[in-house]
Structures are given as C-alpha cells and as structure tokens.
Symmetry: C2
Subunit: 510 residues, 2 copies
C-alpha cells in the first residue's frame, strides 16, 4: 500500500493550536479525494520512519498549493520534517485502548495492562482532546479503586524518564492544591537542603489555580532545567526547584492536566496518580504531603482529607514510597499574594525574616520541613519543627535559597504589575468568610498565571475588623482587558469576602 | 468597556473545522496583547448585536494583516459578518452550566433547570468539544434516573422547533440501532401512509453505523426538506422520510451525536432522550420502537432490551407519547447490503415484491407496521401483521413509496461503487456467528456512509453451509485508499464471519 500513496510537501503554517496536532489539506487535493478524508478525520502522517496522528482541517481555496499540506506548530514539532522530505497519509488506526475507556464508563475496572496501553497511547499523542476528556471523566465518575490507582500511577511513571540520584534517601514534598498563595515549596526545599537533605524538587505549573510553584519560582530563577542541569544543581546545593515538564517525568500527566484544566476537574484517583507518579519519577523515596482542608479548599472536610491521606499513603506504599500526609488549615489563603510574582514576594519576606513576613506561610513551612526532618530520621519525632524554625531564623535557609537560584541560572527580581486597583469594603464589620475559589478565579481573570505579575494582594484575614472603604484586596494586572474582566466578575461575586457583625469562624465553614 | 475595545476586520479563511468554531488571530495584534489571549483561549466575538464563543488559534507570521482576524467556516456561518462590519472581542464568560456537569460527575443528579441550562448552552455553541465529551461521559458513567431522563428529553425538545400536524394521531417508528442493514423505515412509512395513517418521519444520519436511514433514503430521493416541504409532502401523501437535522428538531441532539460518534459512545439515557425528543419534536403521538437484541447488536441481552423498552415507554408516557417497543432478533445483519445505496437496493426489492428480496427485511417491516396499525387502532390486537403483509404484496406500499419520493423532489437511482472486491471463505463449514460490529466497522472503513455507494454486500446467513473460496461478502468502495484500508483491517479481524463444523446458533451468542 505504501508505494501507491501520494506524497505531499509539508508547510509550516505558524498556527498555534496549543498541544493539539492539526494538519491542513486542500479538499480538492488527490490525497483527500483518494483516501476519503473529511474535516475532523483522524489521520496518520508519515515522513520516513516518523509518524504522527493528527486531526484534519480541510481547506477550501488556494492558499495551500495542490502538492502541499500544512501543519500546526504542535504537529510541526512532533513530526519534525526535514528539508526535502515529503509525507504520506493514511486513516488513523483505531486507538484500541479507547475500548477499555468505554468499558470503564460502563463500570468495568481498568487493569494494569489497560492503563499501560492508555497511558502509552496518550503519550504518543494518539488521543484527541475529546478522548482525553472522556478518559478523565470516566475515571472521575466511576472512581478508581486501590488497584486501579496503583495501576495508573505505575503506568504514568513507566511512560516517562525516571531519575536516579544514587542516594539512599531523597526527600520531596507536595501540596494537594486548592489553597491560594500556599507557596511553601521554595521555603521547604531551602530548609531541607540547608540541613543536608537531598531534595530535587520538580513542580508543575498551575492546573486550575492562579499560580503553581513552577510559575512562582520562575519569577525568582529559571525553572526549565534539563535533567543534567538538575543533577548539577542538586550535586552542588542538595536541592533545586525545577519545572517538572521540562524533564519528561510522567509526561502523560502534563497532557492530562491540560484537559483537567479545560474542564476544571480534579478527581481523586487522577490526583493521587499525578502526585505520586511525579514524585516517584523524580526519584523521591520519602514524601511529605500538605493536605489543606476548608470549605472552599480542594479538600472540603477532615473526613475527605483523612481518606485522601490514606489513599496517598497506601498507593505510595504499593509503589515503594514512604509517604506522610500533614492535614493543614485551608480556611483562607496563605500569605498575602495570589499570583506568581506576588507569592514570590511573600516567600522572600519569610526567607529574609522580615518583620511583616506572613506568619501563616512561615508556620506552615516550618511544620512541613519539620515533618520531613522527622520522616527522614534527621531528628526524633516531635523535634522537627524546632529545627526547622532555627534553620529559617538563622538565615541558613535564605543563604541556601540564594545559592540554589544562582545554580539554576541566576536569581531574578519578581516583576511588578503595570495596573493595580484596590477593592474596598462596602460596609464595616468583621471578616467572617473568605471564598478561596472565587478569590482564585478573580486572580486568574486578572491574568495569573500567564501574566506573572498579575493576581491580587489580600489585605485582611478571617476575624479582622474592617471599616467601610478600607481596601480588602488589591488587583494586579498587566492589561486593561484583564483588569476590567476581573472587576466585571467581582460585580456578581460581591461576597467573596464576607463581612458580618461578629467574628464567627464556625459560620465560615457553612 | 465596549467602547475601549479594539476592532478587527473579519476574514473568511475557508478552513473547515467541522462544527467547532475556531477564530485565528495574530499573536502580536493589539487585541491578543491587550486582552491577554493565548492559543486555545475561549473568546467571545461580537459583531453588532450578534456574538459567538470560539476557540482561538494564534498565528505567528504575517498571512493575516495586523487589523484582521480569521474565521473557520463554522465560525463564519455562525457569526455571519456583513460587508464592512468589524468585530470586538472579550474573554468568553464562564459557562455556568458546566458546574452542574461537574457536580454530576461526583454523583449529584441533574435537575430540570440544570438540563435546560446545559442544553440551551450546548445549542448556543457555548460548550467546547471537550466539555461536550465531559457531559456525555458523566451522564453515561453515572447514568440518568427516570427524572433525569425525562428532564433531558424535555430540555432537548424545548431547545428546538416543535412540529404540529393538527391531527389527533401522528405515528412514528424508530430503531434503537446497532444492527447493520436494518432499513425498515422507508418500508414502514410507505405501508402506514398507504393505509391512511399520518407518518411524517424524520431520520438521522449515521451515528456510529455505516448508514442511517437519512443516508440510505438520500440515495432514493432528496431528504433535506424544510418544514414547509415536509408539511406539503405529508398533506399530499400522508408520509415523508426526511433528514431531521434540516428542520432544527432537537438541535442539541445533532451536536451531542457528533461527539458520541467521535468517542463511539451510546449511553442509555442519552439514547432515550435522543430518540424521544426527536419523535416528540416531530409532532408524533404514537411511536413504535424496534429493539434488536444480539451478542453484537447495540442491545446485547433480552434483559437489557426489556429494561430499555420500559425506560422508553415510561419516559414516553411522562412526555405524553404512546410508545410500544418491539424486541427483535439482532443476531445478524438484516437484508444483504450494509451501506446507504446497498441498503436502498434491498428496500426497493422488498417494495417491488421481487423473488429474491431479503425475507428478513420484509418480515421485520411487516411486524413493525403491524404494531403501528394496532397501536393506532386501525385493526384489533393480533391482526396488524396480516394487514401489513397485504399492503406490501398488493403493491399499495410500492405505489405510495414512489409517490412520496416524487413529492420529496423526485426519485433517484442508488449509485453503484466503482470498486468491488469479494472476500472468500478460507475454509468450508457452517456459518456459526457473524460479528455485526466488526462488519459495520469494515463497511465504514470502505467509505460508508460518507461515500454512499460504499459498504458491503453480505452473501451468507447464520447456518449456511459454505465451500472454501466461496465469497462471504463483497466490499464496495469508491476509492482505492478506503478499499485497501478495509482489507487491511480485515487481515486482523478474520473471524468476522465464523465458520465451524456444525450449525449451532447458541455458540453465536458467546
């Protein structure tokens, strides 16, 4: 069959379709006609030994020559055609692993081999966005049992590279999201490395939040490190804070996360597989997890937190990781800033022991570093936080942090937004509730995390007394469009910070 | 805000992205910069009072002028910009009804108002393909209870036009798919209309099958009738066989069906809502449903068929439809042809009482028409099939069919495929099983239903004795690419027709 097929000349069209692979072909070209391709056909494009599966967009008109086909930026990079190479085409083969996904929809649990096939096909780009959404929704709706969660986690680890630090103990931490401004990672890495532990931290960018650790850290130092770079930084300083996506650890995770973000979905099984696959692939042996609980955090109740913690520990055990979960207060944002640069500023204030450094961010970092010191056997149970506090106040953590930033490519000053606008209290009273989700949404509308200086700065905390007209928070934005859009959203969500007659923390949990 | 926004000139790019609305914008244009748009941003495009939500593709390079933006064919038709009009842009508003979809994923049943909001947003094009897949998968995984099925059905009816034939009784039929070649509709309409019943039939195109009734009928007469055309045909002849999509009945169904097809998913609740919303919107009062059962049909067991039949009858009752379900044999394809034109040929053979007309197609049509005659009170219970047989053999049905085709715009001769290739038996023996799904897949790979002459002609039935080398079926294709691809698939699915030592129908149900 191959020799009968017509060949077309690839043309880079400069169309950014994000991760989706799209090719463009004239409806009247001989390939479309002979193969019977239509708009949205899934087709296989072959150049020498390389091939991709892509979605077809059909062109009417003559802005492509009859012997040409076009490629989106993503398709161009995936296929990587060389000068003079021409492509042949075929109908995309059936993605066989999708039948397991369909079976899951109807209640059949997925087995290890099926997860392997699904994750492998996902990494090869065989799944369309619609099929990825189907897989994620099926797993979220039906739920994943212990065996399935382990199966998915293992499949995700095996689909990518796995780092080996040649150390007996490699520590790591992760926060199970949902709490704006909870930027403890840079602090914990600095503390752990300062005390001699090895902590090669890979972080993700924001999924549905206004900032991920990688977004925040990027305003302080380069984070897109290669594995060789990470190894050098870790050899030298004992720790690093890198973006996980740059080193192809659990590559399926990055693909799945993009769709989870589009549908604003975080399911428990995916969450566990995502977190633990990244940790295991990064070579961690001992992991501390921060699980914030609150009515508007990702985990809403103590019961949910305990179940999730158990799930994380059990799955960790099954794949050979020592995991400790620390359930923390998720009633309100941590620190003041929400958005990459604003959170980075809070991190610097804590490291530098500034008088007005956010106390809550400091305390949480100490609790988590303390748990790592204990889990890692550096100190006896119960003595972790004392050591962590000392590491911070002595300036050891700050010196280590600077050294890590230098080793990653040079320390940066977080940017400031061009536009700021305070949002005042419309009445006097006591702050009785803060809606983390709405606050995060406002920071995102203001431009975070894509525009790193954007977001908001929170001026009040639960229980504070405020006067009418006193600023509750200040919006930061880099474009007027985004600022206006955040303000517009705020008009219909005026109770993002609730002000009542009396301080009543229990009312905040309704 | 509106007056501050920059305006861009629309340009029709001639890119066919199927139903998905896509707009193209230069990454360096002032709109992208000021609004903070990225590739895959969801944006709102406004021209005067009209607006659409679309997905953004960002262009690098200069094939769009700085003051232009591009539109896919679907976006161009939806926005319909007039000469000299310019467009303004904003971030797409949050699609609020998606929070109900997310809640459904986690087990919260959907209420009527939520279905109304979801279906209305779907019809307005507010849902991305990924969000549509999420909705469909959530409904399939969690299932829809009676109240939800009724709620979805009502919402789908209300979202489109609803025909009123000003008759006390309007009959209709529908086959709950899954059985290749089961093309009874044209026969039943002709029989019902010949006996004086009113049967304005709207049919869909193929969802996951090689031919829908509309695809088959289109090879015999025009089917894209307007409501006025349908009314005229029905006034004149008592019946019509039109494509439902041309008359905007239950428009959400057409959008959802495209995604169901992409992920090859047919869930029970969606199926009931799809079938009954179309029937109710088409103005039917009495509906007979054909539910084929077989190991490789859509409904696999008698138990499933009974449950589905009850669900259809109960939901019908709730929305004011008299429904009768006829459970039929779904062990093997009906008739000989699989594919639009090949099935049309079988229909003509039955209507014309030809000696070699497929007996199974004739019998099923008689059973269904008989059920309609009884449900409609034309004859006593038990006497329906006798009348139906008489309607056929007397030639009354054939004369009525020709009259309907003429009224719809003129009778056509179904096309013949350019390429045919017989597929021989590789051994002698008895045909013990036929895999309907694999057979349907082969017909689709050969080009059906997009290429109407394509598909396959089945030469054997369960229990037949075959010699080695005797043709089991013949492939029909319009392009060499599709023929080759069907043959390639066949190489790995050689047991599509199983040949054994003895006739054993029970072994076929394994």
């Amino acid at each position: 069959m191959g020799e009968q097929r017509y060949l077309l000349k690839p043309r880079r069209l400069g169309v950014d379709t994000h991760q989706e692979l799209v090719v463009y072909m004239r409806g009247d070209c001989h390939v479309c006609r002979s193969e019977g391709f239509n708009a949205h056909s899934r087709i296989q494009v072959n150049v020498n030994e390389r091939s991709i599966l892509a979605t077809l967009n059909v062109i009417h008109g003559d802005w492509l020559a009859p012997d040409e086909f076009g490629l989106s930026e993503s398709a161009w990079h995936a296929l990587n055609p060389q000068d003079g190479e021409r492509a042949s085409f075929a109908h995309a083969p059936t993605v066989e692993s999708m039948s397991a996904v369909r079976a899951k929809i109807y209640g059949n649990p997925l087995r290890d081999a099926q997860f392997d096939a699904i994750v492998s096909d996902v990494c090869k780009g065989f799944y369309t966005d619609v099929e990825l959404a189907t897989f994620l929704t099926a797993c979220a709706s039906r739920g994943l049992d212990h065996g399935e969660t382990v199966g998915l986690t293992r499949a995700m680890i095996n689909a990518g590279e796995r780092l080996d630090w040649r150390r007996e103990m490699v520590v790591d931490k992760h926060c199970v999201g949902g709490l704006p401004g909870n930027r403890t990672t840079p602090l914990v890495v600095a503390m752990a490395a300062a005390e001699g532990l090895v902590m090669p931290k890979t972080s993700s960018r924001a999924i549905t939040s206004p900032a991920g650790t990688a977004d925040t850290m990027e305003t302080l130092a380069p984070v897109a490190l290669s594995i060789a770079d990470m190894r050098r930084v870790v050899e030298q300083e004992g720790g690093c804070i890198a973006w996980g996506g740059a080193v192809s650890l659990s590559p399926a995770d990055d693909i799945l996360i993009r769709i989870e973000r589009a549908i604003d979905l975080d399911s428990e099984g995916q969450l566990v597989a995502s977190v633990l696959s990244k940790k295991a692939a990064a070579g961690a042996t001992h992991v501390v997890l921060d699980v914030p609980v609150g009515p508007t955090a990702k985990v809403r109740s103590e019961t949910d937190a305990r179940r999730l913690a158990a799930l994380l520990c059990d799955t960790g055990k099954a794949i050979g990781l020592a995991v400790r979960a620390v359930v923390t207060d998720g009633m309100q944002p941590v620190g003041r800033g929400i958005g990459p640069a604003l959170e980075a500023r809070d991190v610097l204030a804590v490291l530098q022991n500034e008088d007005d450094a956010p106390a809550d961010l400091r305390e949480r970092s100490i609790a988590l570093a303390g748990a790592i010191f204990e889990l890692g056997g550096l100190v006896a149970e119960g003595s972790g936080t004392a050591l962590a506090a000392q590491t911070l106040s002595s300036g050891r953590a700050w010196r280590k942090f600077q050294a890590i930033c230098e080793a990653q490519g040079g320390m940066r000053t977080p940017p400031l937004a061009v536009l700021t606008q305070p949002v005042p209290a419309t009445r006097e009273g006591i702050v009785t509730a803060i809606d983390n989700r709405v606050l995060a949404r406002i920071a995102k509308l203001a431009g975070a995390p894509a525009a790193p200086a954007s977001g908001l700065d929170l001026h009040v905390r639960l229980g504070d007394r405020v006067e009418r007209g006193q600023p509750l928070f200040t919006l930061h934005a880099e474009t007027t469009g985004e600022l206006a859009y955040a303000l517009e959203y705020l008009e219909t969500h005026t109770d993002v910070i609730r002000i009542g007659e009396q301080s009543d923390r229990s009312s905040a949990s309704q």
